[in-house]
Structure formats: structure tokens, C-alpha cells
């Protein structure tokens, strides 16, 4: 997939050093030849065209760019793509199975956990990291786990309900 990203550089500048990275994204091995300063969020978006990872604040406060890095939630806007070399990344595009939604996705729709949708991918991935570790969280535990992700539309109450809805469904499965 490196070719896609190189499209951006119409006249590749020979002086700029690049590095080859191999990253497992949503289960698929992806290879890219990149500048070392490229941020992971930008590689995912522009390079791999996985637009579900949003960049909101550039300072790792808002969490719109949250992805799972070897299963842990990280802010991909403040991580260099080269740091992901040899690691596994899960984005929102990797949440759903081939035919059905992840219970967290269903929960967000069912409990009206989103409005403009911009924070939603990051919120859902932060929620997944929580539920992977703690399948039966309290409301306070959900609120704490999501406190690295900002939302301006919902006031969080329905986001918390969405995550609890998903926890219940996942436990029943």
C-alpha cells in the first residue's frame, strides 16, 4: 500500500530520508515508505485511507484520533508512524466483523451516543479497550476510561449508556 501514500509526493524529494514500516492494521499487514516525522494518524488517513481516525486537537487532548495499539488505546496524532513499525493497530474500520456490527457500535446507535459523529470512532475504541479489560464496568469506571476523549455534542450521558449497553450485550453473548 506504500504506493498510495507516495502519490502525495509528486516530486519525491531525494534529500528527505524515508523509512519502510510494516504495520498490522485491522489484521492486514500494511507496508509504507514514509518520512520519519510522519504522524501515525496521518499515515492511517492519507496513506491507508482509513478516514475513520479523525484528527481533532493535535495535542492529544481530544482523543478523536484514538486507535488501539497492540490493544491499548493511544492518541495517534501524537505518535510517529515509525513507532508503530512491527505493531498492531486497530482503527474504527476494524471494529465490525464482516457481517455484523460490534456491540459497542450497536450500543452507540441504540442509546443515541453520538450526534455529529466526529468523536465517535475514538470514543468507541477507548470503550473497547475498557471492556476488553473490564467487561462489567460501573458508570464511574466508564466515565473515567473515556475521560481522555472529548465530545461537544452529547454531554456524555448517552455515551456512557451506550458503553454500558454494549457491556451487557457482550456479557450475554
Amino acid at each position: 500500500m506504500s504506493g498510495l501514500f507516495e502519490e502525495i509526493h509528486e516530486q519525491p524529494n531525494g534529500d528527505v530520508p524515508t523509512r519502510r514500516v510494516t504495520i498490522t492494521v485491522n489484521g492486514d499487514q500494511r507496508v509504507a515508505q514514509i518520512e520519519p516525522r510522519l504522524l501515525l494518524a496521518h499515515l492511517l488517513r492519507q496513506g491507508f485511507r482509513l478516514n475513520g481516525t479523525h484528527t481533532g486537537c493535535d495535542t492529544s487532548n481530544c482523543g478523536a484520533c484514538t486507535v488501539l495499539f497492540d490493544g491499548k488505546p493511544i492518541k495517534s496524532c501524537t505518535m510517529l508512524a515509525v513507532q508503530a513499525d512491527g505493531h498492531e493497530v486497530t482503527t474504527v474500520e476494524g471494529l465490525a466483523g464482516a457481517s455484523e456490527l460490534h456491540p459497542i457500535q450497536e450500543g452507540f446507535k441504540d442509546e443515541h451516543g453520538l450526534q455529529c459523529g466526529f468523536c465517535t470512532p475514538g470514543m468507541m475504541l477507548a470503550a473497547k479497550a475498557l471492556l476488553d479489560e473490564n467487561p462489567d464496568p460501573t458508570e464511574d469506571e466508564v466515565r473515567w476510561a473515556l475521560s481522555g476523549n472529548l465530545c461537544r455534542c452529547t454531554g456524555y450521558q448517552n455515551i456512557v449508556k451506550s458503553v454500558l449497553w454494549a457491556a451487557k450485550k457482550m456479557q450475554a453473548q
Binding site: 495535542t59 474500520e93 443515541h112 450526534q115 468507541m124 475521560s147 472529548l150 461537544r152 452529547t154 456524555y156
Partner: protein, 817 residues
């Protein structure tokens, strides 16, 4: 929430004639009509990460633009050297003010009849102002090149508040304007000066209050951005951009860039929130357009968060003072208000033209006050321009905050219970239509009932006892009330326009042969859920299931002309247009039904989704039958097809009302306050989708809590913006944000076709005063009358321990100064 009892809610409305019978309402819930908490259709793409925001759009050959901003708040530009930037491989264009000026684009008109610099030519007037921009092959190169531009500045004295702006000998900020002798933008007044004088002469007691509503930023999660794509071969300019009002932008681009309007297509794709921030025209949009015209390639500009916070439409930043004439039995006789508003370097508010300080004069509309008078002055300062309606109908947030703080202060001065004082002064339910002291006409309200529902929910009497008991143990509990009504949904067009363009809205409905339909409106959703709720109005009016109606907005080539979505005007205006266009379509369908049933039109009755013969109710045809006939079996002489368009000019604003109550506990050792409970009682008339309404209320309450507790942007004496990123500009997370208890009162709007009113902003407008009143109530014994928002712990602690009011007006003193 797909609740069965919703059917009851709608059924109740039959008494007002808005809806029909309960059985119809039940059927209607099934097809996703009015009152159904229908799950949102837009969610299907958002939860998969498949939204289509501006930054997600990639066009072939697209270049990237970055903006170089001024580090100084007020400075003359001595020189700009761009040579090093041009030398960087991959740089395609470097634009400066001088180059923009050769194309007459260095300045642009604002939405308030002022001008604003696109790129600075003479001097910079606020920190973060656009000085140059670079277009390059990728955003990293563009950023490198911006850093390679050398600008020499000569610093000038800086103004950061109205007092400095109006001081004698103050430096002139807008020396570019020929007739501008000082820093005053406008002096404006409304109300009855003499009548108010007389009211004050009769007063037993005069209460006063003075406060600063701090500068805030709407700060949607997604920043602003655009992709301009000028095609030389067709002469067509397409701009994908973050705008809440695409048609206004098209008009502005036609005027500024002098391009023919039919050759401009503005597309507003999915928006990551707006809250008023995405109404104005920003320099970045204009630069990307010029760059695309010059380079004949698509040019993408995506703002970073700092750029968004320091240069785009801020909100509030206004000094309010006022006094209330009171009779000792608790009756309000009159109100005087004065506002000094800080508009930054350019007057670029997006306000209705006639009202210089927005709808500030909607203050005190829910109270029966014989006379009132408001004077307002706006000034330039060396701060970013804006004054946008941040989740607010043109300054009503400031109006209602001042109102409810003033009412609280007056109740305290009179020694009256705050709920009782409100009750004694409310406009009575049977006193509508009511002319407010500043001249608005309110048409409906049940303010007393709304307050009572709130008091009962919070357990008012019990809490007062609990508060007293806690006091004995040294704990500080407080309760704050805010009751208000606000004008939402501008126009009517007689009184409301922006730059002369009347504030109506529109909807276009096309029913296909198989009874499925597409609806387009002049509004633009940013998270409000129009794709879901507009279809519900069509379902209500036509009986076509909501899932059979696709909604499309934001493309000026296809959508009918409308003024866009802000100021809670979507449902009051565009939503009404959806109902009206559906009725037009139904009128034609009735003719088709008569033809199919072989009876005259007069013999036909309508029930949800079906026409039938009055004398033989079993003999009927569905709306889908009529749609099919419109393409396959129309009567002789009838124009084929089943579609129409409606432009809706509302007869009045809608007047939702609400009661917000918060209880808090203040820690006397630290000044930290915790919210114990929040009760919200909203009346937005008929609720199209209760789930969506409740979502909006909770979002609004959170912005209210944010402003009361942490969210503000301030400046030091040099004009440095404090709050230029999310490390300094604090927004509440899930952890701090309180839980909410929602209640409702339903008073259908008498003039809206489906009885609905605006709701998106009510809680943001009315909420802040509830929190602030609660904290001040908790520390009442200290004699403190006001602490400016946000009520940061150090401010509360200072008030408690020093027993004086605490101002939050800039400039702030920084530790290192």
C-alpha cells in the same frame, strides 16, 4: 426509548388540533412519524467511521494549504520575505497580503457590514491573524515553508478590553477605515427610556448587578477547512467546506471573488459540529479559493486546533450591567441594562442586520415587566473577531444569563424566596400573546407550571432543609434556578435578515414512482440529525414511512435556497417548510386519488397515508398508489410527477421555555464545587423525535456547565491568547460532567405547522445561570454578589475568604510577568 407512551403524548395534542386521534398517533409511531424516538439513520455511517467530513475528501491532484499567523496582537508589518519558502521543494505558491491586494482580495466584507483582512497588508490587529499562506504538495511541506517566511513587525500598543478601547488617546485599531475616529463600532438602544425612568422613580428598592460574560469559543471537535476546486475548462468553482450556511457562502463568494453565482457550487459535507463557529466566512476559505483559481488545481485547507481557537468566531466577551426597579411586595417595575461588547479587530458577528447586539433585548421576556431600556456599545479590540451565536440565538445566552443573575440578586435584596419571586413576576398563562418590555411578541407559555415541575423534581423544600442542616456542620450547599423563554428560529423576514438576505428557509420534496422520496432543505445538519427527523415530518404529513424518505442537505447545486442551520432555526423554519411542502404534495396526491377512486375531490377524506371515499371508507388508495399514478396514470391535463418546493417565512419566532435547577456543594477549604443534581424542564412544543431532543438538551447542559465551571479564553496585557489549545482551553470530559434529569412540559407553538419550537440551544442559554446561582447561593453568607464565569476554584476561594466580588475581565496577569 422507542416508547409506547409517545403515542399518548402525541394523542394528547389532538385537543389542540395539531394531531388527529390516538390510533393515528400509534400508527404514526410505527412508520417513524412525529413523536417516534426513531434511531438515527446517519449513525449507520458514523459508527463505521464512514462519515464524509471535509478532511476525508481527496481530489486528484490536490494541493495543501497552511497559514502563517501573527505572533503579535497589534503591530505594523515592516516587511515579509518569502524567498526561503519558495525555495523549498514541493512549494507551489506563497500568498501574502500584497499579492491578494493586486486581485482586490486583501480585504473581504463581513456578515455585519464591516470589512475583515484576508491576509494582512498594513498591520496585524490580533494574535493569530493571517499573514501569509503556502500551498504545497503536502501539508508537512506547507508547514515547513510557513516557518521559512520571515516577517518583520513593529509592535504597537495593545487593547484587550472595552475600557482600554474607549480610553482617551487609545490607539486606533481600524486606521484602515476612512471615517473611523475611535474604536467604537456602534451605539445602539432599544426600549422605553422615559417610561423606565418613571418606573425607577416609583421603586421601593433598586437592585444592581454588573458582570462580565467571558470570551468563549464554540470549539466544535472538527476545525474549519475547505477544498477549493476551480475547473478552468468549465469555469466552475466547487468548494467543499465546513459551513453551516452554504447558500450564504455562495452569495458571499459571488460578491467577494466576483464569480457568477451559477458557476459556484458550495458543498457542506458531514460537519463535525458547528455551534455557530462555522457560520462566518473565514480568510482561509478565500485563500484556498484564490489559490485554486491561480493554480488550477484543488487546494485543501484544514485548520489546526490552535488556528481554530485563536482566529475563528469566538462568542460572548461582553460586559453587562443593569438595575431593576422593585416594589417591596416583589413586583418588578422596570429594568435598565447596558452592554459593552468586545468584538475583536473586525466586526464580523453573524447577526440579523437590524439588531446590533443580537437579540439581547429578549432579556426578561418571561417576566411581566412594564418598561425596560437597553443601551449597547460595541468596540474594536486587538483580539480575534467573532461574536458568533455559540449555540445561541444571537446573544440570547448573555441576555438570559444576565436576566437570571439579576432576578436572583433582586430576590436576595428583597429577602424573598427565589422561586416565589419568579412566580410573582412571570407572564401568566392566560396573558398571551404578550408584548415583552423590549417589544417582542411572545405567543405561548406555561412558565409557572414549568418551574413547579422543576421544583418538585429537585425536591425544593427538602433541599432547603438539607442545606440548613449541612450549614450547621460547616458544609456549603446551594441551589440555583434559571427560568427563561427565548426567541428561536429567525425570521420572520420583515424583521430578520443577514446582509439584506431575508431569513426564510426551504424544502423540496420529490416522491418517486414507488412511493419512496427524496427531501432536500436549505438547512444544514451538523449533528442535529436532520436526516432522521425531517423524514419523520414527511411521515407525519404524508404517511410515507420515514425509512422511505432520504434527506439531503448542504449542496447548493441541488438544495433549495436557505439560510442554513444556526440559532436553533432548523425546526422552526426549515422544519416548517418540510411540513408545508409535504402538504403541497398531499394536495396533488388528493387529485390523483380522486381520479383513481373515480369520485370528486370533495368526496375524499385523508387519514395517515391513505385517501378514502367519505361515504365508503373501505374504498381507498394509499399515498403510494397516488405516487405511482403520478407517473403512470394521471388524469388528462394534469402535469405528471409528484414533487414540490416550499419556501417558508415564519410569522413569528418560536418561544421555547425552560427551567433549569442545579444543586451544588462548595468545599470551603479549596473553593472547588461539585454538582449534586441537575434538573432540566424544557418545553419545545411538539417533539418530533424525543430521543434527539433529549440528546440536544444534554449536550446543551454540558456546554452550560462548561462555561460556568472552566471554559473561557482570556488574554494578557500583550494580547497573547490564553486558551489557544485544549491544554489551556478546558472542556469538560465525561469525568467532570454531571448527570442530568430531564422533564418536559408541552405547549405547542401556535403558529408552527406541527407545533414545534427550537430546542438545540435552550440549555446552553439558560443553564449557566443555574450553576452560578447555585454556587453563589452556597456562599451567600459571605455577602458576595458576583463571581465572573468560569467559577474556577481560586475565584470561589477568593470570594469566600476575602468576602468580595471577583472579576474575570482581561487582561489577566501571568505568573511570569
Amino acid at each position: 426509548m422507542g416508547r409506547e407512551e409517545d403515542a399518548g403524548t402525541v394523542g394528547e395534542l389532538s385537543q389542540t388540533g395539531v394531531s388527529k386521534v390516538t390510533t393515528q398517533a400509534r400508527d404514526e409511531i410505527k412508520i417513524g412519524g412525529l413523536g417516534a424516538s426513531r434511531k438515527r439513520v446517519e449513525d449507520n455511517r458514523f459508527i463505521r467511521g464512514k462519515g464524509n467530513y471535509v478532511d476525508d475528501i481527496v481530489l486528484p491532484g490536490m494541493l495543501h494549504m497552511e497559514i502563517l499567523r501573527s505572533p503579535l496582537a497589534h503591530a505594523r508589518i515592516v516587511s515579509i520575505d518569502t524567498s526561503k519558502a519558495w525555495a523549498i521543494p514541493g512549494v507551489r505558491l506563497v500568498l501574502t497580503g500584497e499579492m491578494m491586494a493586486t486581485r482586490n482580495l486583501a480585504w473581504m466584507p463581513t456578515l455585519s457590514y464591516d470589512t475583515q483582512a484576508v491576509l494582512a497588508t498594513d498591520k496585524v490587529r490580533f494574535q493569530g491573524q493571517e499573514v501569509a499562506c503556502v500551498i504545497a504538495d503536502d501539508p508537512y511541506i506547507a508547514k515547513d515553508a510557513c516557518e521559512a517566511i520571515v516577517v518583520e513587525y513593529e509592535a504597537l500598543p495593545v487593547i484587550v478590553n472595552p475600557t482600554q478601547a474607549m480610553a482617551e488617546g487609545a490607539p486606533l485599531i481600524r486606521d484602515d477605515k476612512e471615517n473611523q475616529q475611535d474604536n467604537v463600532i456602534f451605539d445602539w438602544e432599544v426600549g422605553d427610556r422615559d417610561g423606565t425612568e418613571r418606573a425607577f422613580a416609583q421603586a421601593d428598592l433598586v437592585s444592581t448587578l454588573e458582570l462580565h460574560y467571558p470570551r468563549s469559543h464554540p470549539s466544535p471537535m472538527e476545525c474549519c477547512g475547505s477544498i477549493a476546486d476551480f475547473n478552468r475548462s468549465t469555469s466552475k468553482l466547487t468548494v467543499y467546506m465546513t459551513t453551516q450556511a452554504p447558500h450564504i457562502i455562495r452569495a458571499a463568494v459571488a460578491l467577494v471573488a466576483e464569480l457568477p453565482e451559477h458557476m459556484i457550487r458550495i458543498v457542506s459535507p458531514d460537519l463535525g459540529g458547528g455551534f455557530g463557529n462555522k457560520v462566518p466566512v473565514y480568510p482561509g476559505y478565500v485563500m484556498s479559493i484564490l489559490a485554486s483559481i491561480l493554480l488550477e488545481r484543488p487546494v485543501k485547507w484544514i485548520e489546526d486546533k490552535t488556528g481554530n481557537l485563536i482566529s475563528t468566531g469566538f462568542a460572548r466577551d461582553i460586559y453587562l450591567r443593569g438595575e431593576m426597579a422593585l416594589r417591596k411586595d416583589g413586583k418588578i417595575l422596570g429594568v435598565r441594562m447596558h452592554t459593552d461588547s468586545d468584538h475583536g479587530a473586525f466586526f464580523s458577528d453573524a447577526q440579523p442586520s437590524k439588531f446590533k447586539i443580537g437579540l439581547m433585548h429578549s432579556a426578561f421576556s418571561c417576566y411581566d415587566i412594564p418598561s425596560a431600556h437597553l443601551t449597547a456599545r460595541g468596540v474594536y479590540t486587538n483580539k480575534a473577531p467573532g461574536g458568533v451565536a455559540y449555540r445561541c440565538s444571537f446573544r440570547v445566552t448573555e441576555a438570559m444569563f444576565f436576566q437570571e443573575r439579576m432576578v436572583q440578586a433582586a430576590a436576595d435584596d428583597l429577602g424573598l424566596d427565589q422561586a416565589e419571586f419568579r412566580r410573582r413576576n412571570f407572564v401568566r398563562d392566560d396573558d398571551f400573546p404578550h408584548r415583552t418590555p423590549f417589544g417582542f411578541l411572545t405567543d405561548s407559555g406555561q412558565y409557572g407550571k414549568c418551574l413547579d415541575v422543576g421544583l418538585q423534581a429537585i425536591g425544593y423544600e427538602d433541599f432547603l432543609k438539607q442545606k440548613e442542616e449541612a450549614k450547621q456542620r460547616g458544609r456549603l450547599l446551594g441551589i440555583g434556578i434559571s427560568t427563561m423563554t427565548e426567541p428561536l428560529g429567525a425570521g420572520n423576514s420583515r424583521e430578520y435578515d443577514i446582509l439584506g438576505i431575508k431569513m426564510f428557509d426551504s424544502a423540496e420534496l420529490r416522491v418517486h414512482m414507488t412511493g419512496k422520496a427524496i427531501l432536500r432543505t436549505g438547512a444544514k445538519t451538523q449533528g442535529q440529525g436532520h436526516e432522521t427527523t425531517w423524514a419523520q415530518i414527511v411521515a407525519h404529513e404524508l404517511g410515507i414511512p420515514a425509512e422511505d424518505v432520504v434527506v439531503e442537505e448542504g449542496d447548493t447545486d441541488t438544495a433549495p435556497f436557505g439560510m442554513g442551520t444556526y440559532a436553533s432555526r432548523s425546526t422552526p423554519v426549515a422544519g416548517a417548510a418540510v411540513a408545508m411542502v409535504s402538504r403541497k404534495v398531499r394536495a396533488k396526491a388528493r387529485k390523483l386519488a380522486a381520479h383513481l377512486l373515480e369520485v370528486s375531490e370533495e368526496d375524499i377524506e385523508w387519514e395517515l397515508g391513505r385517501f378514502y371515499v367519505r361515504s365508503a371508507p373501505d374504498n381507498g388508495v394509499t399515498i403510494q398508489d397516488c405516487a405511482f399514478a403520478a407517473y403512470s396514470n394521471m388524469p388528462d391535463g394534469m402535469e405528471p410527477g409528484l414533487e414540490n418546493v416550499a419556501y417558508y417565512d415564519p410569522p413569528n419566532l418560536t418561544w421555547p421555555f425552560a427551567c433549569y435547577i442545579a444543586t451544588v456543594e462548595v468545599d470551603p477549604q479549596t473553593g472547588v464545587w461539585d454538582v449534586l443534581r441537575v434538573v432540566a424542564v424544557d418545553d419545545c412544543g411538539v417533539r418530533i423525535n424525543p430521543m434527539v431532543v433529549e440528546g440536544q438538551i444534554m449536550g446543551g447542559l454540558t456546554e452550560a456547565y462548561a462555561m460556568a465551571s472552566m471554559q473561557f479564553i482570556t488574554f494578557d496585557a500583550q494580547g497573547n491568547c490564553i486558551g489557544s489549545n485544549y491544554m489551556d482551553y478546558l472542556l469538560p470530559t465525561a469525568w467532570e460532567t454531571p448527570g442530568y434529569e430531564l422533564h418536559e412540559v408541552v405547549t405547542p407553538c401556535p403558529h408552527h405547522p406541527i407545533g414545534a419550537k427550537g430546542i438545540g440551544e435552550c440549555a446552553t442559554v439558560g443553564g449557566p445561570a443555574a450553576f452560578v446561582n447555585a454556587v453563589l447561593d452556597a456562599i451567600k453568607d459571605s455577602g458576595v454578589r458576583n463571581i465572573d464565569m468560569p467559577l474556577l476554584p481560586d475565584r470561589v476561594y477568593e470570594a469566600l475568604t476575602q468576602r468580595h466580588d471577583v472579576s474575570g475581565a482581561p487582561p489577566v496577569k501571568m505568573d511570569d510577568q
